[in-house]
Amino acid sequence: MKSLRARLVAGLTLGIAALLALSGVVLYVLIRASICAEFDDALASRAQSLGSLIEDNEDGLEFEATEAPLPEFAAVELREYFQIWRPDGSVLARSASLEGRDVARSEELGTTPTFCDAPLPDGRPGRFVWLRVEARRDPELRPAGPPARVVLAFGASKGRLFATLGQVRSILTGVSVFAVLLATAVTGFVVRQSLRPVNELGRQIKQIRADGLSVRVGAAAIPLELSPIVDHLNELLARLKAAFEREQRFTGDAAHELRTPLAGLRSKLELALSRDRSPETYQAALRDCLAINLQSQRIVESLLALARADGRSSTLRYEDVDLEQLARTCWAPMKERALARRLTVEWQVEPATNVRTDRERMALVLHNVLDNAVTYANEGGRLRIQGAEANGAFQLAVSNTGSSVDADQVTSVFDRFWRGDSHNRMSDGHCGLGLSLCKALLDELGGSIRADVSDAGVFSIIIVLNRQPASWVRTRATPRDSEA
């Protein structure tokens, strides 16, 4: 795992070093050119002054100071080299430093001085300037013809030039290295300071525990770049907290719902066994225990179905299902109960409407919804089962009169273990899991379920199956029938 800080420091340092190296090279090239030009100027000016010592008189050309080394030129490094040629090409003068050798003569000589590098007699690199010089004339002698033009070569060792350039190089390199080191230190400091909020955030996140999800991270001084992360993290924490609370509530509710019938069972059995009783009393106790047992079984099965729907542990088996037929099959076992409660039942379902869905799951949904309607309708009330295609989806609505659910409670009916207050807990065989199970199943099937309650106390559950709407097949017209 690479450290962001190390990467930033290394990247920035490398960048600064490259920039410094480039500017160093450019600077060196410019300085070198300037120093070389200055060196050449000095050569040319010295050559000119030597040229002024050549005199053209009646004796011909004469070089006044054939041996002119000044005391300051005595050092080897500062020694001067020159050679002067008469216009006819013969040597007029030659410096002693040349030790009798000729300077390699430049072929093309214009009016401007020509520079060239050439080795000195002692083998060191040197630089020479070539130029044509007009010999000086005494005006009083008034010689005839134009003044004689001699060729003069003047040279010096490049040692000093090299030394100066070497010095420049050392200074530039030193400054650059120092600058890179300084830049590394400064970059390291700046990066560390800039990354402090990240470290702080990391520390805060590290401290978050599963039981302390109400904390929020990055309260103060969060840089602009980190605020989206912090915002998303806080949103995530809030969602996690809600999920945890939901889970805890569910576990608590599940424990409660399972323990209550267990407590009932235990107390019934303990009471029956606490003394000798008549066979009728034992029979009654056994019947009660059986009823409690069946009820517990229903709760456990609902919880299991819910867990399976939540965990998507089983695969869906899609097939074409005739919803009307399925609803009637689910309704069959409830007919008797509806009759006993004197409920008027109206069927308004489009027959032979095929929907591609999972038959078993859909049957569970319909069973729960119809069972709820029969249980919670008022005695002698009305039940209506409507099903039709609407907006490319199949909509099934099951309504019952006599609902005690308030409009503001409508969204709660899908909460696990939610029950309206009007019914005694579990005495009706309902534990408040049916509708949440329906919701979980429909989520799985790609449908939706919602509840609605009218001012007149008509409670409706509306199921919409919108998955694969193209698979609808309708084969018959819509007859209506009703049964009481």
């Binding site: 719902e257 399972l258 107390s267 005495s427």
Partner: protein
């Protein structure tokens, strides 16, 4: 002793009530918080067994309302919620005891007995008045060395008088707290049972334990 049982789950409510009745308590039952609160406020109970998750008014709200009205009746909360938070919430709302479902009936009865004793500021299960000894656990009565056999009603009446030993107990109080005299048609049933008790507790050469305070009630001392 009169106990109110507020529990919405019918099988549990029935068996707890039955067990309490068989243990000699007068029992009233209620299936929701609203009715339970009404019962608790309109009668005097020795113990209230209260479920937490109740329809209409939640058990904790019932408890808080009772305590707000300075009603000190010992309350035993009955609940399936066993987390520390739930227990703390229950006890902080003013509960005297907390029983988690499922529970043993014998334990529930023992806790009810303990709460009855606490209600009458007693420390042990044996009540003593002079040479009379009443064991509230085995429900046995002894005077000196003599064991006295009592019917359930007689025992309940004697236990109530013994719990309030030294105080004059009115007929109405006996009516309220003991067994199911309220269901009797005869108004003088209390006097009849006091007569039975006197006969059974009588020992030659020993003082009478139950005295009649004319116009006020009875006194055991």
């Amino acid at each position: 002793m009169r106990v109110l049982v507020v529990e919405d789950y019918a099988p549990l409510r029935e068996s707890v009530a039955q067990a309490l009745v068989e243990a000699g308590y007068a029992v009233d039952v209620s299936a929701d918080g609203e009715e339970g609160l009404w019962f608790a406020q309109s009668s005097s109970y020795d113990v209230i067994v209260l479920d937490v998750m109740l329809p209409k008014i939640n058990g904790l709200s019932v408890l808080r309302r009772l305590r707000r009205r300075e009603q000190r009746t010992p309350v035993l909360l009955l609940t399936a919620r066993d987390s520390v938070d739930d227990r703390v919430a229950g006890l902080d709302a003013g509960a005297d005891d907390y029983v988690i479902k499922p529970f043993a009936l014998t334990e529930l009865l023992a806790r009810v007995r303990s709460l009855v004793r606490r209600g009458y500021s007693l420390s042990g299960p044996v009540l003593r008045v002079r040479d009379l000894e009443i064991d509230t656990v085995s429900r046995s009565v002894q005077r000196g060395e003599t064991r006295i056999d009592l019917t359930v009603r007689e025992y309940a009446l004697l236990e109530y008088l013994a719990l309030r030993a030294g105080q004059v107990v009115s007929r109405t109080e006996i009516w309220e707290h003991v067994y199911d005299f309220r269901n009797e048609m005869e108004r003088n049933v209390v006097d009849v049972y006091i007569g039975y008790l006197r006969k059974k507790l009588h020992c030659k050469g020993r003082p009478r334990l139950i005295q009649t305070c004319r116009g006020q009630g009875y006194l055991l001392q």
